[in-house]
Amino acid sequence: MRCLTVICLLLVVAAVRPAPKKAWRLQGFAQGTTWHITYYSTDSILSFQSIDSTLQQLDSSLSIYKPYSRISRFNDASDCIESDIHLSNVVEAALQTYAATNGIFDITIYPVVQAWGFGTKKVTELPDSFMIQQLRACVNSRYLSFRGSRLCKQQPCVKIDVNGIAQGYSVDVLADLLEQRGITDYIIELGGEIRLRGRKYPGGEKMQIGIEAPGDNEFQPAMLQQVIAPGDGAITTSGSYRKFYESDGKKITHIIDARTGYPVQNQLISVTVLAKKAITADAYDNALMAMGLKQAFAFLQHHPELEAYFIYRKQDGSIADTGTAGFEKWKIVE
């Protein structure tokens, strides 16, 4: 009898033990780049469609490349428009970052970015100092405000570009979607911006993230500089080594210092930021790029919620890297 009970119990245990988790992968194109999602669960519980439509929805709100988007309508408007949840979330986060960085990160920089040829239109010649000065009259996040659900600008010429933060935000929106479905082990990547949680199954290993760096010179292909296993959180990278063009022997990078209106020229090649949320990491990676190494480290001392890893060019032209103490802990040593 006892034997039978044990057998019955074993059978019950076998019946209720869940099937092992395994990897499910989805991928697609959005926001001018690719996205990949790997999640670990016993069954497929997420459709390509649900991700794709979420990303399309984000695009209709935040893309300056879509003339009908909420952000384009704001840029075309002379004062206020009815905002939506995504635009409000992103602008609010951007205003917080604006304050925290003393104006280095500023989404109203858009007219200047466009003048440098990194907007939606191509430019035939580079802006001169007079033009930059004129355009800067429209650059200041203080010109933005919310009136209830309406987003307003103080001057009609104020235009915003949330490219520096929207991808990170989109990754967070996707993470929320996964978590709503009860998924607790996943990695989401959109255009190199990453959010991850949990572990890989069936083995239960930690997830590993490679951080890309340029080669020793600009004619070399990029390579992975570091591999880290950061646990739950977000990772984004901002770099001057890919999106740039050359004019009269000068590198014009897409990262514009909002305080000056000129492309950032310092020793930093790329900054990788780790934070709890991707929108935070994404907002600060460009700001840290603009600060330069010394100021960035000083800034990070007051922001324990951020960890960062820098690749920079030394005075002698060689490439070196350094990271915050927190970052060093995540590194996987060979």
Binding site: E189, M207, G210, P221, M223, V227, I235, S270
Partner: protein
């Protein structure tokens, strides 16, 4: 594979989009000097080269054009400025002191005699592929070029200048594909490969590719590109060439095969290369696949995809994500696109190299030695195909500078 190796290898796939800069750096001259160009041969390829050259006005100025066919000359004349001189006889063009270098884009049988005249006349030469009509001409041109060492002789095998193919060579050299044992190439079409013959001209004048006296047919005109690439990428040549073919569909009086298959055996390289073309099916069109123990590269003219073998795939996926401006992108069919930015046409870089070699007195990447090696391959392949037999490489075909 150690992590370090992986990191390096992932790099070539995830990035490397600065290849245009890489090629620019390799093929740009430090010297500002405009070279006066004479075109000999104003057919499709000649005009194609002219269009690319118009993109390089600082490097080249067209001063003369020549074709024995009036309608060809008239076509080209419309596309150049009025002060460009026209000639019907290439020897007269070669006497023109306002010509520094010539582009030879004529039927294959005329490549050698015109190139020889041009070298004798002191001109630099850009000679279209295939370099020569037969082996003895290849040998003679090598000897002749050595006598005129100060003049540049470049051969129009532009795969050596196409960013995509450049990258694939790099992948091969870095062991990315593992050991490549098999190469499959096709260049198929479903039409007669003829051009319309204007009134007053003969079929042989316009459709010279159909006649053995003028052309090496599909092998010389098309497959020679891939044959040359294999020679270049693996730094080798075949040791044994088998061939077959026929005039199997277009029984329209042509002499060169409309359906051909050659198999090249590379003993040193431990490889087999299959090169085939038909005029009677277009389903696969262009195929170029390099199959190695670690993966396959599948190439189109401007696109390439790397398909890792299962073990390699596992190694490439040792990280779960990559943060950075670019990253490895997997296709839905399990491949990794090799080059996301296409760069310019190979001919553009080839002409840059021509300019650089003239101004800086260097030897081009596609030169008389490499051109001769491929010309021998093409000739052996045609010889084997027409005889339905096997041809062996001989020590006399090993050219060196």
């Amino acid at each position: 594979m150690s992590r370090r190796t992986f990191l390096r290898q992932a790099g070539i796939l995830s990035g490397g989009l600065l290849l245009h800069h890489q090629l620019m750096a390799a093929y740009s001259s430090r010297l500002r000097q405009t070279i006066n160009i004479g075109f000999i041969g104003c057919g499709d390829r000649g005009r194609g080269l002219l269009h690319v050259m118009k993109d390089l006005p600082e490097q080249f100025k067209v001063t003369a054009i020549c074709d024995i066919l009036d309608f060809r000359l008239a076509q080209m004349q419309k596309e150049v400025s009025d002060d460009v001189k026209t000639y019907k006889d290439h020897r007269q063009l070669l006497e023109d002191t306002n010509v520094d270098a010539v582009i030879i884009a004529t039927p294959l049988n005329m490549h050698y005699p015109i190139a020889a005249h041009a070298l004798a006349a002191g001109k630099h030469v850009f000679l279209e592929k295939t370099m020569t009509y037969n082996i003895s001409e290849a040998q003679q041109l090598v000897a002749l070029s050595k006598k005129h060492a100060k003049q540049v002789l470049q051969v129009g095998h532009q795969y050596r200048y196409v960013p995509l193919y450049f990258r694939v060579k790099e992948m091969i050299e870095k062991g990315y594909l593992g050991k490549v044992t098999h190469i499959d190439c096709r260049w198929d079409r479903n039409w007669n490969w003829r051009r319309p013959v204007p009134d007053g001209y003969t079929d042989k004048q316009v459709n010279w590719r159909m006649y053995k006296a003028y052309s090496g047919g599909l092998v010389a005109e098309l497959l020679s590109h891939q044959i040359d690439f294999v020679n270049w990428a693996f730094n080798t040549h075949p040791d044994e060439v088998m061939g077959t073919g026929g005039i199997d569909f277009y029984k329209d009086g042509r002499e060169t095969y409309d359906n051909v298959q050659v198999v090249l055996r590379y003993n040193q390289g431990n490889m087999i290369g299959n090169f085939g073309a038909t005029c009677a099916n277009a389903r696969e069109g262009y195929i170029f696949k390099l199959k190695g123990t670690k993966g396959t590269v599948s190439l189109l003219v401007n696109e390439g995809v790397f398909y890792p073998e299962p073990a390699t795939r596992k190694e490439l996926q040792t990280v779960d994500g990559v943060s950075g401006a670019t990253k490895i992108e997997w296709n839905t069919d399990g491949g990794i696109p090799i080059l996301k930015e296409k760069g310019k046409d190979g001919t553009w870089y080839a002409l840059k190299d021509f300019h650089k070699c003239i101004t800086e007195k260097q030897i081009p990447a596609s030169n008389v030695i490499t051109g001769a090696t491929t010309a021998v391959c093409v000739h052996l392949a045609n010889d084997a195909a027409y005889a339905h037999s096997v041809r062996q490489w001989k020590p006399a075909f090993n050219f060196s500078t």
